[in-house]
């Protein structure tokens, strides 16, 4: 009974406890769990972690210090595991910092490759030569600075993974049609080269050159920006491309990674691409732009693909031989007159040779086969005029087209002309030769000038002396001081006035080969002047439209 009642009272107590402390006991259980269960623990900490970090960071820097080693370790581990993911993530931040800072002057010259100096006798050519002399810059650099011409014709924004075209801009809307195919092709070519040459996945080619056209490729983690340019883009343009890619990466990262063929989300990328469609026509403004002269064979264009196949077959032994051949080839070039090799670069695609070349020197391209060089060689040779006398002589001959009866000797900056020639040829030759760089004096004292009998044959400026009778009736020997300077306009005018003796009612002017007369004069004087002005060799024409003979006997 008592046992029973004890039991009962125990149960009653239980009941009572439950009634009184139910809530508390549940909470006690929870607390117990919380202390025991790691998982729940973590959940609790998670709730306050961010706040806690914030508060602690306001107090001191201990937290950062104690976390640093762990963070370092985990970054290292992450890089070791997959460098790409990290570099992709960092690209927008790091890109600007890792600007390729290749800053040698030769690289700058590259920009102006293929700019042939049209005509070194032009006023422009002489001006540049002067500028080079004045500023102490190499002539090539002056030419480069003066002739920079380029135009961006097309811009492709390509999704890197699929090769699909995201955006395309072009000068000429007819090019739009196949832009998507070109886009895919470019990726394929880029992939192919990458696969064939280097193991690393991020080393894309940067440009392809085909004649006047250059395709510059700028690659980001998710996009490739391809730009087709005519001419030579300035270095700053490449930087512009990099910045554009970085911006696009930053702004469109998510859309790019989720890209499923729908280009809709990228319509607004236009505004980033439009500024790339630029051009620079510096020399056209000055009326200099002519069709490129055929002598621009200076530049040998290398299409990378062609030599790739050759490249793949190389054996080590062959490589040795190739190296020797190459060295010999280079020293041969260096010993050639009119060729200056300033730098040789070698990369997966072959050799790139930078320097200067006189158009009249040996064609370095044709020498390749002589040295059994099969590698792909790109020549970026800036044209220049060498001052070595054999080349100067060659240039003079090209310019003066001397008749067979004439011998030309170039020594100590003096051009000596020996033989028999017409007055017209001789006077032109004397004048023109002085414009050739490297010629300081002209000595024509040993030339027998053909009589004016032949000279006055109508219109025959370009008489071929070798078809004239072998014994001219009369020859006169001309003894002339070396022609040192060309007369100024005022000198010529003075000579004209002395020759024509105009009446006081006539005013005369002279400029650029033209003699102008205005005012009043007798018919007979006008006639006389017209017949005689050409005795002064510098005067090509005589303008008389402002002359009148009214009221004069």
């Amino acid at each position: 009974m008592s046992a029973n009642s004890t039991h009962n009272s125990e149960a009653a107590m239980q009941e009572l406890r439950k009634l009184l402390f139910e809530k508390e006991s549940v909470r006690l259980d929870e607390l117990e769990n919380l202390l025991r269960d790691q998982q729940l623990h973590a959940q609790e900490v998670a709730k306050v972690l961010a706040e806690a970090v914030k508060i602690r960071n306001l107090q001191d820097e201990e937290l950062g210090k104690s976390l640093a080693p762990t963070i370092e370790k985990s970054i290292k581990a992450s890089i070791a595991k997959d460098p790409k993911s990290l570099s992709d993530a960092l690209f927008p931040v790091m890109g600007p910092a890792i600007r390729k800072s290749i800053n040698n002057s030769i690289a700058e010259m590259l920009q102006s490759l293929n700019q042939t100096l049209e005509n070194s006798f032009s006023a422009q050519g002489l001006k540049w030569r002067l500028e080079a002399f004045r500023t102490g810059k190499p002539f090539a650099e002056v030419v480069m600075l003066n002739t920079l011409v380029y135009r961006v014709e097309q811009v492709f924004l390509i999704h890197k993974e699929t090769g699909l075209l995201l955006q395309h801009l072009s000068f000429d809307p007819s090019l739009d049609e196949d832009a998507d195919v070109v886009s895919s092709m470019l990726t394929a070519v880029q992939d192919f080269i990458r696969d064939s040459f280097s193991g690393s996945t991020d080393q894309g080619i940067e440009n392809l050159r085909m004649g006047d056209l250059e395709v510059i490729l700028e690659t980001g983690p998710d996009v490739v920006l391809a730009v087709v340019c005519r001419g030579n883009t300035p270095r700053a343009f490449n930087e512009k491309l990099q910045t554009t890619v970085e911006q696009i990466q930053q702004l469109y990262r998510q859309a790019l990674q989720a890209f499923d063929g729908d280009t809709e989300p990228f319509v607004s990328i236009d505004e980033h691409l439009h500024p790339l469609l630029v051009s620079d026509f510096k020399s056209e403004e000055k009326g200099q732009e002519k069709k490129k002269s055929p002598t621009k064979a200076v530049l040998v264009v290398a299409l990378i693909m062609v030599t790739m196949l050759i490249w793949l077959g190389f054996e080590e032994a062959e490589r040795q031989q190739t190296q020797t051949n190459w060295d010999n080839y280079i020293s041969r070039l260096q010993s050639e007159e009119g060729i200056i090799v300033s730098s040789v670069q070698q990369d997966e695609q072959g050799y790139t040779l930078l320097g200067l070349r006189d158009p009249l020197s040996v064609d370095p391209y044709s020498l390749l086969s002589e040295y059994h060089i099969a590698a792909n060689v790109s020549f970026f040779m800036q044209p220049y005029h060498a001052l070595q006398e054999p080349l100067v002589l060659k240039r003079i001959k090209q310019l003066l087209q001397p008749p067979k009866s004439i011998q030309l000797i170039m020594k100590d900056s003096t051009l000596t002309i020996i033989g028999t020639a017409s007055e017209t040829w001789l006077s032109q030759a004397e004048k023109a030769a002085l414009y050739v760089a490297g010629v300081e004096n002209v000595d024509s004292s040993q030339v027998s000038v053909l009589s004016s009998v032949f000279e006055d044959l109508p219109q025959d400026k370009g008489i071929k002396l070798d078809v004239l009778p072998s014994k001219p009736k009369k020859t006169i020997t001309r003894n002339k001081k070396p022609a040192k300077k060309v007369d100024t306009d005022t000198d010529i005018l003075k000579r004209a006035i002395a020759l024509l003796n105009p009446p006081s009612t006539v005013e005369m002017k002279y400029a650029k080969g033209i003699l102008y007369a205005s005012g009043q004069a007798s018919k007979s004087w006008i006639e006389f002047a017209k017949n005689n002005f050409s005795k002064i060799e510098e005067i090509d024409s005589f303008y008389t439209s402002k002359l009148s003979s009214k009221g004069i006997k």
């Binding site: 090769g163 699909l164 075209l165 895919s184 499923d260 063929g261 729908d262």
Partner: protein, 165 residues
């Protein structure tokens, strides 16, 4: 406009280039010019009122020493796997490539084309093998680049398979 990259794969000489030419230019030639590298063509097809611009990568045939480079496969949304119905050995090649595609690109639509169906005499795929291919849960088309049979249908079918349903 939706763009999709597809690859035409298979052993050498099965008719990849011919099928593409038939589809894009409606042309066929008996002459065999073995492809090198990749040629890219495009054609727009309409699927359920959606224009899909197919960028078709016609890749050289897979051979022992001339494997298809991974870089060409990257980013493809669909595959046309071509078998030459007159050459049984091209089936095994297709299977190998199929495996590689799965490893590298994951699950993407793949359609089988049993090509040269016009060559009845030399046909060597029996019903048994045909049934096997079909039961492997792949779409299979009997095509002829020569007559054009089923060519349009297979390209449209891959376009459809690539669009979200």
């Amino acid at each position: 406009m939706i763009q999709k990259k597809i690859c035409v794969l298979g052993a050498a000489g099965v008719g990849k280039t011919s099928l593409t030419a038939q589809f894009v230019y409606s042309k066929f030639s008996e002459k065999y010019l073995s492809s090198m590298g990749v040629k890219i063509d495009k054609k727009t097809v309409e699927v359920d009122d959606t224009q899909v611009n197919l960028m078709i990568w016609d890749i050289h045939g897979e051979e022992k020493y001339k494997k298809i480079p991974s870089s060409y496969l990257r980013g493809a949304s669909g595959i046309l796997m071509v078998i030459d119905g007159t050459r049984l050995d091209t089936v095994a090649v297709a299977k190998d490539i199929h495996q590689r595609v799965c490893d590298e690109l994951g699950e993407i639509p793949i359609i089988y084309l049993l090509n040269k169906s016009d060559l009845g005499d030399a046909w060597s795929i029996n019903d048994n093998l045909m049934a096997k291919l079909e039961s492997a849960n792949r779409s299979v088309f009997l095509t002829s680049a020569k007559t054009g049979a089923n060519v349009e249908a297979s390209f449209t079918s891959i376009a459809k398979a690539m669009l979200p349903t």
